[in-house]
Each structure stands twice: as structure tokens, then as C-alpha cells.
Symmetry: C2
């Protein structure tokens, strides 16, 4: 049985995603396809343009049989933390056999080579890395130059000097790294990305980046949008907008984030993951002198910190996420498999996973507490069914609820903030043939 | 030299306020008039409809020679805490000789009688009070019935059974109480309120309550507004709206307050002043199930808690104000005299106050830190100039800055959130004759 695992955000699902999923299925010819998807916040440190339930519908419309939620605490992390969570979920299903990721280089050989360096961290490499960091380079840049220097010192033929600049290659390296860390037998494959690159803001073809698609949504250019995303995805997105459940933009968090930071001391800021090395002064001062988040980011920006890192830091501040917590999450991995949706085939697969996985499936959020009690009761039983730590389990899932409870305040139509979205037992079931979507 | 002290909010300044100020001046015939005014948040637990600088202009336009800011930590308290701060500021000027407050009963005799009971707390009275509280009455109601029972047990002739129901009488009692607590020689007077009462939402005459005036602003009924507030006040308000600095409403804090509470645990909530007796459960649950603040308040409301108390609790939650802090503030009183504005006469008075007061005048916010250093340096000097405690001083003034930094996010025009309003050295100086307003 071959089970294809995909790591996705679908923010929103566009033609490039459709191409990727088709190519991956061609390559693996899987019996089932599983997607692990960011929830209501994404890796760029932003709220998603439409919520995770709408994006689950997109995923199920275009080839995923089951969609799992990447726990919030991994969504809004750098490539390493993101990979820790997403590879963790796929590996811990106990059934995924292959993953396919998009890559600018699409050279799995060199990616494996480099990920070997990243996971073994040879001394020669770390010395060069530290040197570049000391020079004030951002971590991604320092790492890139350190790897290139190291490889060329080993006379490795470096053809692709841009390898560590592209976000998909960087993510790919971390996927490979975490497959090793989890001791996973999952086979990794990569395919070349088509069309615009991840961060491109302009549209050059019908294969626009998600960033460009979001900009077109911001400009309310609906006709153009139709050319860039597949029909079903377009329908789902328009339906969400009609209900007042989107679009949600980064600046929708203006008052929430600025009021939060403006009421924090520098000491409070220092307790947040990633806020150090003088960043606390910058956040303290500029939060009080910036009229919105765009201004704040411009004011905060230095060579050392990328916009994505700064945006993620804002989310960490908002949700009070500490260094210690991130360390725990990243050493322990995700503690549960939360199902956002499935189709008829997916239902079969979930039955397999339920038998094989050492981590609890959470089919509807209402069951999370029952599972917690079970974990607590059995944690010292040598024959226990699950490997989850009950405390970390509870912490991770409560963070998912927190994220949704804040996200719901960002919906343009206020009435959608009237309940806890995750506890309303929302799960997307897509029935065979008629592809109807139902919620229960 | 007679100096009249007024305790005001002017949210916004309307015909009733004009009547009160004229009558007070007639009664006292003062050499100078001083107002202590709520800052950007008012006693009802709401942000003011226009900011404290605009409202200072109103006060100076209609008879105040100097306007002091009531420190934020006293603005958003019940009648007791509000009186502690406002009487504290007036008393600590060392120059105010008389205060005049509006009162429904306008019977200073019975108010003094009752305030005597409140400050001496005879055992017979406290037993009755506890009985009523146990029955689930709100504190204001329990106190009202306990006082009436106590007075009738003493065969005191009770003519005015409504005495402790009206907000101005309740405030008046606390003013009298705190005059005793501070050992002040200030003479208290009261005059009957004209027109609608404080909380009336409808307009019955050109003397509407501030609540009614705010509702008319909400309805954008500008022509009607013109009949209810004096000309200068109308001009000032319209100018603020034109600049995008108002109107600010309670629900402008929707995302800020709901996101804040939705990310708090019950334990976090219990650390906030006034959150106890199961209130933490109600705030925890309903914050996650209310789409806006109006819904939240309706959900939270019980016989025991008034809307004002609930709104104040929301502000205390937002600003993390603890029981311990309120106790310190209310036992120590305000630690400085912060000047929001003055006219030419007021300048003379400020020179008197500077000589007489045991508390530092803060003429512009930029000087707060210099004064803090002075207080720190001299705190153990027996011949020190000021009685302020440097730590409480710093805490109180930082809270004023915090309040303004959050308030500025509520201005309809985002660009007014681009700096710290209090540190921009804004002070309103109204020159003689031409009544021009200048900022520096």
C-alpha cells in the first residue's frame, strides 16, 4: 500500500498547487493521499486568507483523501519548526510511505547531501556558520554561505549556487532533516515548481504564487482571480467571502497586535520566543510609534531579520509563546493527528491509521478532552496505546483552539465570532461521486 | 483667595455641564476655577468619545482656568476609587477651597450624615450590609438598603428614599467620605442637577444627559447635537471628527478586548481586580461565545453586577490591573498633578500651586522622568519637597501613557496612532481675550 503525504498551506489553493498534486500522484501512483495543512495561521506569520475548514474543502476537491491539521505551534515557525510538525504528523500516521515536495532545484541528491550536513553539523561547518552570523547576516543567509563554503572546501561540485535561497528548497532540506530525526522510512521525492516563485508579488502567468493571488484578492480583481485558481477553489473562496468569512489579511490584526505590544514591558517581550538581541527594544519602541502593522514591519526591518521572521515574532507575542515551549514542541513533535476532513476513501485510510498510529486521531474537536483523560490515565502503563505526553498534547491542542478563537475575530462578518469554531464539531466530509460537502 | 474645584468628565461637554459650572461660580464666586477631569477612559468603563486634549479645550472654553488629569487608575473605578483620585488631586493642589458637585437630592446635610456612616462603618450598619450582599444584591443596592435600614433604626427622618440610587448622590457621598479621609479643609457644596439624569438614554429637553448626547453622536444626528451642547463644544467635537480623532465608542475595543480575554486562562482572569466569585468563569466562557462587546455584556449581566461594573472589569482586564495595585492606589492617592491645560489666569494659579503643593506638578509629560529621578534621589530626605512615593508615581503615570497608547488605536483615522500622544508634549494653553488654543 502506497500512501502519498503532502505538506500544504493552500492559502489559497491555486493552479500551481493543482499542478503539484497531479505530478505527485503521477510519480507515486498512491492508494491514498494525505495532506497535512496549516490551520488558521500560516508559516509566513499571517492569518490565512480563508479559514482551515474552507481550505480543507479545497484540498479534498483536488485529490487529498484525508486532511490533517498541522498543530498551530508548528504552523508559525521557521522552516525547521514547520518541518518538525508537518513531517511529524505524516510520519506518526504510521501509514504514509512517500512524500513529494516542490523544489526550485528539484535535485534530491544535493538536498540529501546538504541535509546531511545540517543534521550532523560537522565542526568545520559550524565554525563558518558562526562567522557569518557574527557578521550580522540573517540565519538563512549565514547558513547558505556556510554550506556553500563547506561544500566547496570538500571540492563538491556546486552547480546550483541559488540552492539555499529559495524557500521550497530550504523547506525541503528541513523535511529531509526531520525524516532522519524521526527515524522515518518515508521516501522523499521532489518535483520542480512551475511558474512564479513563492514570494513573487506579481503575476507573470496563470501559475501565480500564493502571494500574488492574495494581492489580487486584496485588489478585489475577481475576474483575474478566476484565471489563477481552479474552479472549485474559486467557488469555495467566493462562497466564504459571501458569508463574510474572508478575506482575512495580516493587517486585520492591527488593533489586536499593537494594543498587545503597547501594553508589554521590555521584560515581557524578552519572555517571547525569538525576542532577544535587542529585538525587544525595537518591538517596544516601534509598536508605540507605528500606525499599523505594515509601518511596524518597515520600522522593525533590518538586514538580520526577514519580514517572515518578524511577522512570526508578532504572532508569538500575541499568543505568548516562549522559547522553552518551542523547544518542547520541537523536541517532542506533534502529539495528535487532528482530522479536518476526509472523503470516502479517506475514511478507509483513517481506519488503517487508527490501527497503526501511536498517536491519537482526533476526529472531531469535541473528543479532545476524552482523549486527554485517557492519556493521563494510561501514561505510566507499559502497554499503553499512545506515545503522546498528556500535558504537551493538551497544550498543543489548546493552542489550536486559541488560534481559532482569535482568528474568528478577524472575519469581516462579526457574527462568525459568536462561538468557538473548533468546538462546533466542524469537520469536512466529502461524499463519493457527488462530492458534496457536509459539516457535522 | 477662593479656589473652586470641579470634578468632571465632559464626555462630551453639554448644556447641563454649562449650567453646573455657571451655578457653581455664582455660588462660590471664586478667584480661580480648577477642574480635575478623567483622561481617555471614563468612569463608566468606556473610552471617552473624544480624547482628553479635546475635552480640555471644552473645559477651558467654559470656565476652568486649569485642567488636571485624573490619573487613569482612578478614572475607571467605582464611585469610591473615582472619588479617591479626584478629591486627592483637588486636595493635593494645596489651594482648592471649595468643591461643588451636582446632586439629585441636593441636600448636603443628609449626604454628610450618610457619608459619616460610610466612613465610620458602625457595626450595626455593616451587619445589615453583609445580609443584603449575601442575598445577592449588587454592592450599590445592598449599601442603599443597609443605610436606609440603619437610619430608620435610628429614627432619622428619611424623606428621600431614592437618595442612594442616583449616581451623582452616590459620587457625592464618596467625595465627602474622601474629604474626611484626606483630612481636607475643602468645603463641599452641592447643587441640584437640571434636566435628564446621568444614565438617561433619551432626550427630553435641551438638557440631555451625556449618555443621550453620545447616542445622538452615534446616530450622526449632527443638527440635533447642536441643540444639546454649547457652541464651542460643538465646534471642538466637529473638528475632532473631521480630523478622524473621533467618535470613539465602547465597541471600538471589540477585537482588542475579546482577543485579550480569549487568550487568558481562568487563573489569569482571577489575577485581575474585581474578577472573583465565579466572574472568572463567566468572562472566560462568554468572551469565547460573544461576537461583540454588546453581546458580551448582555451575556455577563446578572442582578449582582451592574453594566458599569462589568465594563470597568473589561478595562481592568485589558490593562492587567490587579487587586493589590488598586489597594495601593486607593490607600496612597494620586502621586502627581498632571496639567492638561490652562489659561492666563490658570498660569498664575499654577504658580501658587507649585509653591503650596506637596505633590509635583507635571506641566508637560516629557518632564515626568526628570521628576521621577528627583523623587527617587530625595525619597529619604526629611526636608524633601514632595510626599510622592517614586514607585507609585511611576506606576500611575505609566498607566496614563498606556491608556493613551491604546486609546490612540481607536481613533477612526489610523495615522493618529503613529506616536505616543502623551509624550508629544501636548498641553492646551488658552490665551486671554482671543481664547485661541495652542499646542506645544
Amino acid at each position: 500500500m502506497r500512501v502519498l503525504g503532502l505538506i500544504v498551506e493552500y492559502n489559497p489553493f491555486h493552479n500551481g498547487h493543482l499542478y503539484h498534486i497531479k505530478k505527485s500522484v503521477e510519480l507515486i501512483n498512491p492508494d491514498y493521499t494525505v495532506a497535512v495543512m496549516s490551520g488558521n495561521f500560516v508559516q509566513r506569520g499571517e492569518p490565512a486568507i480563508v479559514d482551515k475548514f474552507a481550505r480543507t474543502q479545497m484540498a479534498l476537491s483536488y485529490g487529498a483523501d484525508v486532511v490533517f491539521e498541522l498543530p498551530f505551534v508548528y504552523c508559525v515557525q521557521d522552516a525547521g519548526g514547520f518541518a518538525c510538525g508537518s513531517i511529524g504528523v505524516l510520519h506518526r500516521t504510521g501509514t504514509v510511505t512517500d512524500i513529494v515536495f516542490g523544489s526550485e532545484s528539484s535535485d534530491i541528491g544535493i538536498l540529501n547531501e546538504i541535509s546531511g550536513i545540517l543534521s550532523s553539523q560537522p565542526q568545520e561547518y559550524t565554525i563558518i556558520l558562526k562567522k557569518y552570523l557574527k557578521e550580522g547576516l540573517s540565519f538563512p543567509n549565514a547558513r547558505k554561505y556556510a554550506i556553500l563554503d563547506y561544500l566547496s572546501s570538500k571540492s563538491y561540485p556546486i552547480e546550483n549556487i541559488q540552492l539555499l535561497e529559495k524557500s521550497n528548497d530550504i523547506l525541503g532540506l528541513e523535511y529531509l532533516n526531520y525524516l532522519k530525526q524521526y527515524g522515518s522510512s518515508i521516501q522523499a521525492h521532489c518535483i520542480a515548481r512551475q511558474g512564479s516563485s513563492y514570494n513573487d508579488e506579481t503575476v507573470t502567468s496563470h501559475l501565480a504564487s500564493a502571494t500574488a493571488v492574495r494581492n489580487i484578492i486584496k485588489e478585489e480583481n475577481i475576474e483575474f482571480l478566476k484565471e489563477l485558481i481552479p474552479e472549485k477553489s474559486f467557488e469555495i473562496i467566493l462562497n466564504e467571502f459571501k458569508k463574510g468569512k474572508g478575506p482575512v489579511f495580516f493587517d486585520s490584526m492591527r488593533e489586536i497586535i499593537l494594543s498587545k505590544i503597547r501594553l508589554m514591558s521590555k521584560n515581557d517581550l524578552l519572555k517571547v520566543y525569538g525576542i532577544k538581541e535587542g529585538l525587544e527594544d525595537r518591538f517596544y519602541n516601534y509598536s508605540r510609534r507605528s500606525m499599523d502593522l505594515e509601518c511596524l514591519l518597515k520600522n522593525l526591518k533590518t538586514k538580520r531579520f526577514t519580514y517572515s521572521r518578524l511577522k512570526r515574532a508578532l504572532v508569538h507575542i500575541l499568543f505568548n509563546i516562549s522559547e522553552r515551549e518551542i523547544k518542547t514542541y520541537n523536541s517532542q513533535g506533534p502529539q495528535y493527528l487532528r482530522v479536518l476532513g476526509f472523503n470516502t476513501k479517506g475514511k478507509e485510510l483513517l481506519a488503517h491509521i487508527k490501527k497503526k498510529s501511536r498517536y491519537p486521531l482526533i476526529p472531531t474537536a469535541s473528543q479532545y478532552y476524552q482523549i486527554y483523560k485517557y492519556l493521563l490515565k494510561n501514561q505510566n502503563d507499559p502497554d499503553k496505546k499512545y506515545d503522546s505526553d498528556p500535558i504537551i498534547y493538551m497544550d498543543q491542542i489548546n493552542r489550536d483552539f486559541d488560534a481559532s478563537n482569535v482568528y474568528s475575530l478577524l472575519y469581516p462578518e462579526k457574527e462568525h465570532a459568536m462561538f468557538e469554531p473548533d468546538k462546533k464539531n466542524q469537520i469536512i466530509i466529502m461524499e463519493e461521486n457527488d462530492e458534496k460537502t457536509s459539516h457535522y
